[in-house]
């Protein structure tokens, strides 16, 4: 894998001057993933903060070919680009080796784009799909998605007198994609840049579809100061809310295993979207939260320690 020094010499394909917020995790995720391509790459984005903020006509922050089609179909769109590449390469009309990557937020990936993603993964296109997961529909103003954490207050799952924010646990998208028997799936975080770039390199290197689920904190949606993005991403990993793992040819492996998990409350208390959980009388909710995180973590550890592929690709 490339050293930090080598990475600094790779071109930045998403240039500065885009209109994403200060402290936005999405642009960090995209830049780190693109460093891992290390080859000509065509990028696609679902409708999202990323798309509207990087392509306000007539400007573009993309220094590599880029296409945005619609909200739910980044996977199908890049699949079409990749198919065209294969056809034209076979006919000798293109000679370069080109990589293909699609980016989507959690709304565009876990929810409305799930069918398109599933189809593209199953068909085996040589492409990387990256979900930058900030846990809500941030572009439209912080609405709940199936990636929103339990207990988070969003504009469509507000914490009220009777309902303490979102009542459901996050969908385990990486596991769902892994069950498509694709060669590479990983979960990563913008806080662990080396891990993320290495995973991106692996994702681009495999022959076939790869999926990366990258935690990308959102200061506006999570309600924390702009400068704490990396701290929040790191705590999500250290508390076990966002484990780092990879599934290579069906074999599950933890990328980071702390000796002891930090209490989930340490991550929750820094975010305004969870502040109602810290009001008097909500102690049982916090206990339930910790139980859920610990159980999910334990199940993941067991899955990884089993050392046997649950499903083998090919």
């Amino acid at each position: 894998m490339a050293s930090l020094k080598e990475l600094t010499h790779r071109p930045d394909l998403l240039t500065g001057g885009h209109r994403l917020c200060a402290g936005c995790g999405a642009s960090i995720a995209v830049r780190q993933v693109l460093l891992g391509a290390n080859a000509p790459v065509v990028a696609c984005s679902a409708t999202s903060c990323l798309e509207v903020s990087t392509t306000p006509y007539p400007y573009s922050a993309w220094k590599t070919p880029f296409i945005h089609n619609a909200f739910e179909n980044a996977a199908a769109t890049i699949a079409g680009v990749e198919a065209a590449y294969r056809a034209l390469k076979r006919k000798g009309k293109i000679d370069k080796d080109v990589k293909f990557v699609a980016f989507g937020g959690d709304g565009g990936t876990y929810d409305i784009g799930l069918q398109s993603l599933s189809g593209a993964m199953e068909r085996g296109h040589n492409m990387v799909y990256v979900c930058y997961d900030n846990g809500a529909y941030m572009n439209t103003g912080i609405q709940r998605s199936s990636a929103t954490p339990f207990g988070a207050s969003t504009t469509t799952s507000p914490a009220g007198k009777m309902v303490p924010g979102k009542l459901q646990w996050r969908k385990d998208l990486a596991a769902i994609v892994a069950d498509h028997c694709v060669p590479y799936v990983a979960q990563a975080s913008v806080s662990h840049w080396k891990d993320l770039v290495e995973k991106a390199e692996k994702a681009f290197a495999v022959d076939g579809p790869a999926f990366l689920n990258v935690l990308a904190p959102c200061p506006r949606g999570w309600r924390f100061p702009n400068e704490k993005t990396i701290e929040l991403a790191k705590l999500a990993v250290q508390t076990g809310y966002w484990p780092l793992f990879e599934v290579e040819d069906g074999v599950w492996r933890l990328s980071f295993k702390p000796k002891d998990l930090k209490p989930i409350a340490e991550w929750l208390k820094l975010q305004g979207r969870f502040k109602h959980l810290f009001k008097p009388g909500k102690e049982t909710l916090l206990e339930e939260y910790q139980r859920l995180v610990s159980n999910k973590w334990q199940r993941l550890v067991e899955r990884c320690e089993a050392g046997q592929p649950s499903l083998v690709s090919g």
Binding site: V42, E51, Y57, P65, N73, T77, L88, S118
Partner: protein, 392 residues
Amino acid sequence: MARTVAMTGNIGCAYAMKQINPDVVAAYPITPQTTIVEEFANYVANGEVDTEYINVESEHSAMSACIGASAAGSRVMTATSSQGLAYMWEQLYIASAMRLPIVMHNVNRALSGPINIHCDHSDSMGARDAGWVQLFSENAQEAYDNTIMAIRIAEDPSVRLPVMVLLDGFIVSHAIDRFDLLDHAVVREFVGEHRPVNPLLDLDNPVTLGSFSLPPYYFEQKRQLRAALDAARQVVKEVFDAYAAISGRRYDFFETYRLDDAEVGMVVLGSTAGTARYAVDVLREKGVKVGLLKLRLFRPFPARGVARALSHLKAVGVMDRSDSFGAEGGPVYTETKSALYDLDKKPAVVGYIYGLGGRDTGPTQIERVVEDLINVAGGETIKSPVYLGIKE
């Protein structure tokens, strides 16, 4: 050499696709289109084409992948029907806005609900404002010819728009018809090499497609789309001429039949033209001065030509195989009536809705229309729309 065959309309369309040999086909099965993509899948399986065939998981992804593949710089085709076209609706507008020359068959089928698999035009009429060229086919010959011509129209530098080739579900798609095929080499030379404009795969000249366009730009971009569709009229004419030179079959925006000396006339789309032509002959035998205008190009609508062709009539009956609920009549009726408005001496116009959900439309129904038109020519008024062959 060109040869005469007996094939269904769908197989004829698939065969034209084989001759065109597109780079990418992304498609999803739906009745009555399915036999097109099945037949094409056979060509792929047998190595008769060089196409990358994407078996997508939905029509939405079919058009999404077509957009990606066309934007990448490849020649792209697909096919659908009814619910599939409706499911693509969002993508139809994006394809035309990106000026992507995708060619798609839509085998006309009624829209749900209630669910029905048979022919009417409500699916493609729902897409008439999407910025696509729409070419209708009366029979398998026209469906085959339109497929080949559509490539040239779509890819013309002054057009660069997607084209929809329409054929009536089951009536044209599944009936075996006798028609003529061109040689592979003639078709390949006619469609030529695809020359994409600003493709994504030109890595040395990176482009951004599908930008976020705000009020200072969006309006002009849509205005340019209209300009391109208007320019398509001239290109369609040129391609029709070029095609006549290789096939001997001469097409126009519309075809008239015994209309020149007629007093009343009908406007139809698609396969019903055959029935109407037969009815015109029967009525002409009886001395009735009736004629027919069969539209081939619905988008862009050839308004001036249609108005000129109908201007001498006393009454016109416009046949719509789809309804536009809440409007004065079906879409062909409102287009035709609007086209006639600028004439000093206008024919009376009656709108007919017929054949929804595959209801059979025979010569008796056409004769009923002509009877009405003769009465209207004589001064009677008939309120539109009239529902033909309905039980009420």
